[in-house]
């Protein structure tokens, strides 16, 4: 009988029986849950700076939209772990394999897992908090934002036209706010989308009641009593009772850097998710950089958490994270968008590094549908699906596959082409 069950194997490191996890967000909570399930006898300590950690950050806009209650998005944690909330880690002492927390307590570890996540990037200097100014990065952010937007006539300005900004603007607009989305780039999601997709997306947002201002940065709202105005780089300004800053995130790497671990954009890890500078320190999720990529979404973070749990439990000491070719999805209201890989490559950019690059695209003005597949040497390397996701599974499989595409690729953009 070939039921795959956990092989009773030797732990790769006896000291790994004591696992210390810093951060209990998407990656940390998943890791802890899987590790405890696979290896109930391992001692797990979790430190997190938030008072109520372990919730599903992916669903924050769902909470804002009223689709979920804040309590509903809690992530499960196993019983029997030593969870310390509201506790920051101030230092990692690798020489003694200990971690010092903000209460002065020193925690020994056999394996240290950094799951410190990311923090929101702020586009202007913040000397002190401005009333009505928000992020949407934590559940607390979400609560404050929900409280502040209690009035349906609240004028909201969303700064940043990335994924989170677009999703937030749509969510607020669905709640009948006058919403303005300000984005410094030439078009929405300009790092991910090409101009055509950006323009179409803009149209969808405008139809949903969002005023879109692109090509201009926003700066700090003027402080003072009463409603403020958000000044724009083009000299204009937008009245705002509520400002949501959604200008991307940056990995939280200060701790790792101070501990002398190799850090680029994130904590540099190998396929075992161990730091390349210390085999007893691991990093998963938004704070980790693997093969030059910081995966900042939940699905790869969970894959990493599961790989690491399989390794540290001894369940599968050979488990490796070899990267994730994920599609970034925006599913909100009438917006259905997938974007992945090198999607901004323009038509006519046929050679890159000696390899043949081709672009297949379909634009349907009437249905506001745009599909674009970028291939290099007959492999899908990026693409955009906007407005019609009927071929998303076919495209995902092609993107994940190492096989060459057939010459006829219409199946990637049309279900009528037969889904190869």
């Amino acid at each position: 009988m070939e039921v795959p069950v956990g092989r009773p194997v030797a732990r790769e490191d006896g000291a790994a029986r004591r696992v210390l996890v810093v951060g209990c967000g998407m990656a940390g909570a998943r890791f802890v849950t899987r590790l405890a399930a696979l290896s109930p006898d391992v001692r797990i300590t979790v430190l997190d700076g938030e008072d109520r950690p372990a919730y599903n950050r992916t669903l924050l806009t769902g909470v804002l939209a009223g689709h979920h209650r804040p309590d509903d998005i809690a992530l499960p944690l196993p019983p029997g772990i030593d969870l310390r909330t509201g506790v920051r880690v101030v230092a990692v002492r690798r020489a003694t394999r200990t971690v010092v927390d903000s209460t002065g307590f020193e925690h020994p570890y056999g394996a240290l897992v950094l799951a410190t996540g990311s923090r929101p990037h702020h586009p202007w200097p913040r000397t002190r908090p401005t009333p009505g100014e928000h992020h949407l990065h934590t559940l607390d952010d979400c609560r404050h934002l929900t409280t502040d937007r209690a009035d349906a006539r609240t004028r909201a300005v969303v700064v940043g036209g990335g994924l989170l900004g677009v999703e937030t603007a749509l969510t607020l607009a669905a709640r009948t706010h006058p919403v303005t989305l300000v984005h410094r780039g030439p078009h929405l999601l300009h790092r991910r989308l090409d101009g055509r997709a950006g323009a179409l997306l803009r149209g969808v947002l405008e139809d949903a009641g969002v005023t879109v201002r692109t090509g201009t940065p926003a700066t700090a709202p003027a402080r003072g009593p009463g409603p403020s105005r958000v000044p724009l780089g083009d000299g204009d300004s937008v009245a705002a009772d509520l400002v949501v800053v959604a200008c991307g995130t940056r990995p939280r790497v200060e701790l790792a850097r101070a501990a002398g671990l190799p850090v680029a954009a994130g904590v540099v890890v190998d396929d075992t998710l161990a730091s390349v500078g210390d085999p007893s320190v691991y990093a998963v999720g938004d704070c980790a950089e693997h093969r030059g990529v910081v995966h900042d979404t939940a699905v790869p973070a969970w894959q990493q958490a599961e790989v690491l749990a399989a390794r540290l439990s001894g369940h599968d000491p050979h488990a490796r994270f070899t990267g994730a070719r994920t599609l970034t999805r925006l599913i909100a209201g009438d917006v259905d968008l997938a974007v992945f890989g090198e999607a901004t490559t323009g038509i006519g950019t046929v050679h890159r590094g000696g390899a043949r690059t081709d672009v297949l695209s379909v634009l349907d003005d009437r249905r506001r549908v745009y599909k674009k597949i970028v291939t290099r040497d007959d492999h899908v390397v990026g693409g955009i699906l906007l407005g019609d996701l009927s071929t998303v599974d076919t495209v995902r499989r092609a993107y994940e596959s190492t096989r060459r595409l057939p010459p006829d690729r219409l199946h990637l953009v049309s279900a009528l082409g037969g889904d190869g």
């Binding site: 009988m1 070939e2 039921v3 795959p4 599903n56 992916t58 669903l59 769902g62 689709h67 979920h68 509903d72 998005i73 809690a74 992530l75 499960p76 939940a298 699905v299 994920t326 599609l327 999805r329 599913i331 259905d336 996701l389 009927s390 998303v392 599974d393 076919t394 995902r396 499989r397 096989r403 057939p406 199946h411 037969g418 889904d419 190869g420």
Partner: protein, 716 residues
């Protein structure tokens, strides 16, 4: 010949619908009887599928066993024998085995096609005459995952909690891993009436089957991801406010834990796991949730997995959260497969059960059954191992050394069938009672020829929980005995001259008494009532009780009357695809054939309609593999290789291939299927394994119409 002027009203020998049929003498025809639909029987209302129309062909003596067969030694052929010799061989073998290896070294393997009376007597035979714990049946391969989940969730396992005809009266059916257009065609009438009334049909299937082609919405998940889909649907239902909070509060327990699990299945993640575009999942949720009434019906496609029980819980949770259960025209149901798949699991041929759907570990149940059987409760063995585990260890130390197979053909129908075949060959004694010389009978030391459907009387319980009565319409051939006669004779030779009547009516009367007070209570059901009422729905605890066509309308059968919502999580298949085995194989049935094909492959019309197995492949996949339409291909898993011609179709996902499972020999798909078991139900993962497909090394063309060697019907 039992003749009535207007014919004998009875039932089809095949699937769980148990369509009503009328048999009339047909002295001029090829068979002694002619069959037609029984217009007044509510399940099929006169309709019959092709299998049913040709059922009388099975009565033709040419295709079946005429006398007992015995083998004089390993390597010698089976030869005809008299009953006395055959039965003596069985009893001597049983005694020798039990003396040498203990009572549990003799096993019994039953079937979901046996009548209630046979299933009951077979279980009693094992526990009383053989006193072995080793009994299970092929329903373990069929119904066990749904049964386990339904028992836990509702406290009572009946395939459908409502009559089949209620399908036409609901507003939305979510049909998962089921293809009734090919497996139970007469049931399509109810789906047609559903559509005519404006009801919607959502089909979940990796293939665009003939059923899926009729759907308002067809979701095509990757095989083995139905549970993620169910959880993803619940997530969206929660997010969009479709949950029926009042129903959940009043009629269920466990919702909070289920809600917490569903939160982990947000649309983008579920799309990645299942391959179903998020907007389609959302459309399905809205279509189902917004319908005033709705049903989820699953079949083997969703259940035959190493997580089949959890998957059924996922669908039940969805029904309960949306208030679509325990109300008229709403509920979760399982489309049972075999003719007596329902009754077969109620009367004690399951490893862990006693008649009346009682638990073998419940002291009260043991005491009750022991009283009915006139034995001491301490004489009753405990639970035995499940079907695959019994086959897997057969002929090994600690496993069964002698096996009686009745009404099953595991050489074709068990997973990892090549291994199972080797295990059966290693037995000290294999006894097979069957109508035909099946592939399993070919391996036997003793073959006992059985009577069949129209030659004996007995009850079955169809997928609705309706107990129906098949009537004897014709005498069996001279040297053929009924299974009850066989059990009765064997029991007598083993020293049990009392308690094993061969008369089905006497057995049924005892079954009624044994089931009294059990979950499947037949106490008020009699042959007369079944005939007068066109079937009686259990539970029917007393003569004056009307039977129970619809369950759970007032309360569920749990101790507190509430349905239990059970938190479950998706997990990968037991054998994910990889570079060596990059495709998922799914298996299923074709219109013309039934189960292992032991019967239908002997029917000329069925052979003509579907002469051989095939491998359904998407043209793009075929193109990449260098496979051409009609050319033989090999399908290889970690367990073996099968060969069958390719059939190219865009109706299948490009990452999936399909094979029907009705054939033996080189085209026997169960050679490659995975016996990974569900931890709760012990159901093998028939429905998905990782395979590699390649054209047969030396491509050859074959004349059209001539079956290739790989698929020729075995000589009879």
């Amino acid at each position: 010949m039992t003749e009535r002027a207007d014919g004998v009203r009875t039932h089809c020998p095949y699937c769980a619908l148990q369509c009503g049929t009328v048999l009339r003498p047909d002295r001029g025809g090829p068979a002694p009887l002619a069959v037609s639909g029984w217009p007044e029987f509510p399940v099929n209302r006169g309709a019959l599928c092709g299998k049913g129309q040709h059922a009388v062909d099975l009565l033709d003596p040419a295709g079946r066993l005429a006398t007992p067969l015995v083998r004089d030694g390993r390597g010698t052929p089976l030869r005809p024998a008299g009953w006395d010799e055959a039965l003596r061989r069985v009893v001597e073998g049983v005694r020798a085995t039990q003396t040498a290896h203990g009572r549990d070294a003799v096993g019994v393997f039953g079937g979901g096609g046996l009548t209630n009376e046979k299933a009951y007597l077979l279980g009693k035979f094992a526990r009383v005459a053989l006193r072995t714990s080793a009994i299970d049946y092929n329903g373990r391969f069929c119904m066990s995952s749904a049964a386990a989940a339904v028992n836990r969730a509702f406290g009572l396992d009946r395939g459908l909690p409502f009559p089949l005809a209620d399908i036409a009266g609901t507003d939305c059916v979510l049909l998962v891993g089921a293809n009734p257009a090919d497996t139970m065609p007469p049931a399509l009438r109810d789906f047609t009436r559903l559509a005519e009334r404006g009801g919607r049909l959502i089909v979940v299937d990796p293939r665009r089957t003939r059923t899926a082609a009729r759907a308002d919405l067809h979701l095509r998940p990757l095989p083995g991801t139905d549970l993620a889909l169910a959880l993803g649907m619940l997530h969206i239902a929660l997010a969009e406010g479709h949950v029926d909070e009042d129903f959940v509060a009043a009629r269920t327990t466990g919702f909070e834990a289920v809600r917490a699990t569903a939160m982990e299945y947000w649309p983008a993640r579920v799309e990645g796991l299942t391959g179903v575009p998020a907007h389609q999942i959302r459309d399905a949720v809205r279509m189902f949730a917004q319908a005033p009434t709705g049903m989820v019906l699953t079949a083997r496609g969703s259940e035959q997995h190493s997580k089949g029980t959890d998957t059924v819980h996922g669908w039940i949770n969805l029904c309960l959260a949306l208030g679509k259960a325990g109300r008229p025209y709403s509920g979760y149901g399982c489309l049972t497969g075999q003719g007596n798949g329902q009754g077969g699991r109620e009367h004690g041929q399951k490893a862990d059960q006693l008649p009346g759907y009682r638990s073998l570990t419940d002291p009260e149940a043991r005491a009750h059954i022991a009283r009915v059987w006139g034995i001491d409760p301490g004489e009753l063995p405990g639970p035995g191992t499940s079907a695959y585990e019994m086959l897997d260890t057969a002929g090994t130390p600690g496993g069964v050394r002698a096996l009686l197979v009745m009404g099953s053909n595991p050489v074709v129908s068990a997973p990892h069938a090549g291994h199972v075949e080797r295990r059966l060959r290693a037995l000290d004694l294999l006894v097979v009672a069957d109508v035909v010389r099946s592939e399993t009978a070919e391996l036997a030391d003793v073959v006992l020829p059985s009577a069949q459907w129209a030659e004996e009387t007995g009850t079955l319980t169809n997928l609705e929980g309706r107990v129906i009565l098949r009537h004897k319409a014709v005498e069996p051939p001279a040297q053929v005995r009924t299974d009850l006669e066989i059990l009765s004779a064997l029991a007598a030779r083993l020293g049990r001259t009392e308690g094993f009547p061969a008369d089905p009516r006497l057995v049924f009367e005892e079954l009624r008494a044994a089931s009294t007070g059990g979950r499947a209570d037949y106490a008020g059901i009699s042959y007369e009532r079944i005939s007068a009422e066109k079937g009686v729905f259990w539970p029917c605890p007393a003569d004056e009780h009307p039977g129970t066509p619809r369950l759970f309308l007032d309360s569920f059968a749990t101790p507190d009357g509430r349905a239990r919502m059970v938190p479950v999580h998706h997990r990968p298949t037991a054998e994910p695809t990889d570079e060596r085995y990059p495709l998922n194989l799914v298996t299923g049935r074709v219109l013309a054939h039934y189960q292992s094909g032991a019967q239908t492959r002997r029917v000329a019309a069925a052979r003509a309609a579907a002469p051989e197995p095939y491998v359904e492949i998407h043209p793009a996949t075929a193109d990449r593999l260098g496979v051409a339409e009609g050319e033989p291909v090999t399908v290889t898993s970690r367990r073996g290789t099968v060969v069958a011609p390719a059939r190219l179709t865009t109706d299948i996902r490009p990452d999936v291939v399909f094979m029907p499972f009705h054939w033996s020999g080189p085209g026997r798909v169960n050679t490659v299927t995975n016996p990974a078991l569900d931890p709760v139900s012990r159901m093998p993962e028939f429905k998905v394994c990782a395979v590699h497909v390649a054209p047969v090394a030396a491509p050859r063309s074959r004349p059209p119409g001539r079956p290739c060697a790989a698929t020729a019907v075995q000589a009879l």
